[in-house]
């Protein structure tokens, strides 16, 4: 008869969680993706920097012909495509975390994340199309080797 006086357990958190649990494993997969893509990106991005900035004349050698030369090889097309997609998704998820942490109002968070997802998707589409629709001989006067045949 004395137990009725017990206070209720402290169930209210210090601040309301901004990311509500939906019962899905989305956050777990996002967390895992950051680690897996991160490790792959360490290799891809450092390789990219080495080949483009350290080898030969580095940044001085980068021009349209340099890109044409690289993308003549399917290896570099796949390499750059993989790096584009992984880096964009990794970065988008990173910014999503930052927005969730610092934007206090529900509305602000929603619109920032909407802007993030739409702009990131646009960049991924533009980047993918750039790799696959690249035409080394876009200039009919081109003096590049690949454009000399025929």
């Amino acid at each position: 008869m004395t137990t009725a006086a017990l206070p209720p357990p402290p169930t209210t958190p210090a601040r309301s969680p901004r990311v509500r649990s939906t019962g899905s494993n989305f956050e777990l997969y996002a967390w895992l993706f950051m680690r897996v893509s991160g490790v792959l990106l360490v290799v891809l991005v450092i390789g990219h920097l080495f080949v483009n900035l350290m080898v030969g004349d580095g940044i001085q050698a980068v021009d349209f012909g340099f890109v044409a030369n690289k993308w003549a090889s399917p290896f570099w097309q796949v390499y750059d495509l993989l790096m584009l997609w992984l880096a964009m998704i990794h970065g988008t998820n990173g910014l999503r975390t930052v927005i969730n942490d610092y934007a206090e109002r529900d509305q602000t968070r929603f619109w920032l994340k909407a802007l993030l997802v739409v702009s990131a998707a646009a960049v991924v589409v533009i980047g993918t199309l750039t790799i696959f629709t690249f035409d080394p001989c876009i200039d009919p006067e081109s003096t590049l080797e690949v454009c000399q045949i025929g």
Binding site: R35, G38, I46, Q60, F64, G91, S119, V123, T130
Partner: protein, 110 residues
């Protein structure tokens, strides 16, 4: 704590640079001249110095990211997180030295 802050700051900066970099590369679909004109800004001495900062941000984010992975997945990771932070910083200096020398020679050479 500061490594966490630095990881965030470099991550956000790299993400915004990535937007710019994908879009400047997309100029190869416009014309060789458009692409070459914009890429010429990367060879400008001031931008060349900023690139050292960019690569510095990439390398810190990369090595510290591997440290985070090791803390999460390696059973000894949490115990040696501090030593791993020193390893990150030493590796960073070891790679930044040759890169900075080579890159600045390319930017300022000729």
């Amino acid at each position: 704590m500061w490594s966490w802050v630095a990881h965030r700051v470099t991550g956000v900066l790299l993400f915004f640079f990535l937007y710019v970099h994908v879009l400047d590369t997309a100029l190869v679909r416009v014309s060789p001249e458009a692409y070459n004109t914009v890429i010429a800004t990367y060879k400008n001495p001031i931008v060349g110095l900023l690139e050292v900062g960019l690569v510095g941000a990439v390398l810190f984010h990369a090595f510290n990211g591997v440290r985070v992975v090791l803390i999460d997945f390696w059973s000894k990771g949490p115990r040696v997180h501090r030593q791993m932070l020193w390893t990150v910083l030493v590796l960073w200096v070891l790679l930044m030295l040759p890169f900075t020398i080579r890159h600045l020679a390319n930017v300022f050479g000729e």
